[in-house]
Symmetry: C2
Subunit: 129 residues, 2 copies
DNA sequence: GTTTAATTACGAAGATTTTCGTAGCAAAAT
DNA sequence: ATTTTGCTACGAAAATCTTCGTAATTAAAC
């Protein structure tokens, strides 16, 4: 499977990855139950996705027990970065400023979080001088 | 066509929307030529997309002349917001902070742009107290 | 006025993504 | 041991997205 797609999960794949990132190694049953809290998904649908994701190198499987254990092979922050970069290019023409302002704009980002962001910016500015 | 999809352009649709947002009302030929600067796309492919986008309510067509004129019906900032919100939920679990820090993190956002963002934050903090 | 060129309409093939049904095993329960 | 339950494998249908070929029509050029 090609490298590109490894970091470009589809919507359904991303849903599953989020479970794996949160829960760590999980069985199909657990993953499927968590997904079903949000929306109805058949068990074999979830299983099929996991098998596809293994092909793509997104997850690895431990088959030592009959009940297989799936674990994410791509990192959450790395995947976020890829998806964000893509959106940055495709929708914001590469302007991180526009994107950030849009993200903060209507949003209820907390005082403390804004503080954290300010600190990051200070750091970035420091590095530039 | 349902409302949801109106603000959720596919990749190919977004490419076209970006042209329309930049150029304003445009002919199929112009749009196709601009697209072809980036990658090869057949003329009828572009035309077909525009026709689909009309169905979805993303663009409107002026058919008064034989050479039709297409114009975007959805706004750039609104569309950006929708796509961003979606990514925020699907990949960042709703944390705008994480998203923003990721966006600024590796990026070469300019001094002035960082300044602008700081000002926005100041404004946001002001409103909260 | 005929030929040539440009434009739109439309169907459909190909590709990708999402979804599940069924079969075949393995384990657990009786 | 036989039945029942639970799990994986696999193929394939359904849905969506991308791409183009062909036909029909209109305008322009000659």
């Amino acid at each position: 499977m090609n490298l590109k797609s490894k970091f470009k999960p589809t919507d359904a794949e991303l849903e599953i990855l989020r479970v794996l990132w949160k829960e760590g190694g999980s069985t199909v049953r657990l993953i499927n139950e968590i997904l079903n809290a949000k929306r109805e998904v058949g068990y074999t649908t979830t299983l099929k996705f996991l098998q596809i994701m293994e092909q793509k190198g997104m997850v690895k499987v431990d088959r030592s027990s009959r009940t297989h254990l799936y674990t994410a092979l791509i990192r959450e922050d790395e995947t976020q970065k890829h998806l964000l970069d893509e959106l940055l290019e495709s929708a914001f023409g590469g302007s991180a400023k526009k994107l950030v302002m849009q993200a903060l704009g209507n949003n209820k980002t907390s005082q403390k979080e804004l503080e954290d962001i300010k600190n990051l910016i200070k750091q970035l500015e420091g590095g530039k001088q």
